[in-house]
């Protein structure tokens, strides 16, 4: 890609802001060397991908590293990209593979590493908890306990169920898209999600 011949980062061709242009078509422009098209995709998907990784990883720094790696892989794969599926399906497949590999690589660390929701991460300065200044100390403790419980119960789900719940509940993806990312049938995905939510309902009933 010739960066010198591309528009400045962040400056995007107005043609691409037309709603009729799909992300897959924009990715095809990245393939031809349009740097601004790539910038557009990063800006559009950075927040969803970071939030996906925050829920998949154990700490904020790892989550942001993984999210950056997703975009780097998109960039590296630009020349081999084929618009055979929705761009988001391809994007989440990359994200899912990275998150699953990270979880497997770090699984031996899990019993020792305690997730801290309120302590800021050394690298990013962020916490996994969103602070709410309207709560008093007692309410904040209760809220933190509930957050920890939700996080732990979702984490404890089998891998495929956890991925399905995060994509469905927090990324608002439909059954078809989740099934494509997970390479399952739509019917199997529906069943997977129903079982996952039933498990969570049972495990979290004391907080309801």
């Amino acid at each position: 890609m010739g960066a010198s011949s591309s528009p400045a980062p962040g400056v995007f061709s107005p043609m691409l802001t037309d709603g009729s242009v799909s992300d897959a078509e924009i990715m095809l422009r990245v393939k031809t060397g349009d740097q601004s098209a790539f910038e557009y995709l990063v800006q559009k998907y950075r927040r969803p991908i970071v939030s996906f990784m925050y829920r998949m990883a154990r700490n904020a720094a790892a989550a942001e590293d993984l999210a950056q790696e997703v975009f780097l892989r998109v960039y590296r794969s630009r020349e081999s990209y084929e618009a055979t599926a929705k761009f988001t399906t391809w994007l989440y497949r990359i994200a899912t593979n990275l998150a699953v590999n990270h979880a497997r690589d770090t699984r031996h660390e899990r019993p020792e590493v305690q997730v801290s929701l309120d302590e800021p991460d050394e690298d990013t300065g962020t916490t996994l908890e969103v602070p709410d200044s309207s709560l008093n100390a007692e309410q904040a403790i209760v809220r933190r306990e509930r957050m920890m419980a939700i996080r732990q119960k979702v984490e404890a789900l089998p891998e495929q169920q956890r991925l399905a719940v995060i994509m469905h509940k927090y990324q608002q993806m439909d059954y078809k898209q989740i099934s494509e990312v997970l390479k399952k049938s739509e019917s199997a995905t529906k069943s997977l999600l129903f079982r996952a939510y039933e498990t969570l309902r049972e495990q979290l009933k004391e907080f309801v």
Binding site: M1, A3, P9, V42, R46, R47, V50, S51, Y54, R55, A60, E64, A67, Q68, F71, L72, Y75, R76, D121, D123, T124, G125, T126, T127, L128, E129, V130, R143, R146, M147, I150, R151, V154, V165, H168, K169, Y170, Q172, D174, Y175, S187, K190, S191, L193, F194, Y197, L200, R201, L204, K205, F207, V208
Partner: protein, 160 residues
């Protein structure tokens, strides 16, 4: 509508991602079991909503841009490397190289057997002849330590 059919759709409707159809609403109004399950799932969904995550840190974009610049600065892989990244071609090349190495080693003894022919052509006392003598008697020289142990050193020095 059957309970099974409604249960398939329940996560989507309970999460608010989709509206209940008339048939689904009707079933929920008439089936106590499904209605209870649906209410419980809605409550679970509301609880899961509490798990909020922060915005990307201010450093996210800066770090991503730095990593992208590094990526762009890397030289593009040559055509040979791009070809080699194709799994089928990589596998085929590996097999061809493997066969080549196998053939090379399988012909090794034949090459070795041709050495006595060369030894016969070298003049005794010449540098080449001496080297061939050393090579031909390699096993013997390698076992000099053993000969020492067997008290044969004197015989050897007496008859060089």
């Amino acid at each position: 509508m059957k309970c099974e059919q409604l249960r398939e759709r329940m996560p989507d409707v309970a999460a608010g991602l989709s509206e209940a159809t008339a048939a689904e609403s009707s079933h929920l109004a008439s089936c106590i079991s499904c209605a209870e399950q649906f209410k419980a799932m809605q409550e679970t969904m509301a609880l899961l909503d509490e798990w909020q995550v922060p915005e990307p840190s201010p450093y996210f974009d800066v770090r991503l841009q730095a990593r992208l610049r590094e990526e762009m600065a890397k030289p593009q892989a040559g055509w040979a490397m791009r070809w080699f990244r194709q799994p089928v071609i990589a596998a085929a090349l590996t097999v061809i190289i493997g066969i080549g190495v196998g053939l090379f080693f399988s012909q090794g003894p034949r090459i070795h057997n041709s050495q006595p022919m060369l030894a016969q052509n070298a003049d005794p006392g010449s540098a080449v002849g001496d080297l061939q003598t050393l090579d031909n008697n390699h096993d013997l020289y390698a076992n000099f330590d053993l000969l020492d142990d067997m008290d044969l050193q004197q015989d050897v020095t007496a008859n060089p």
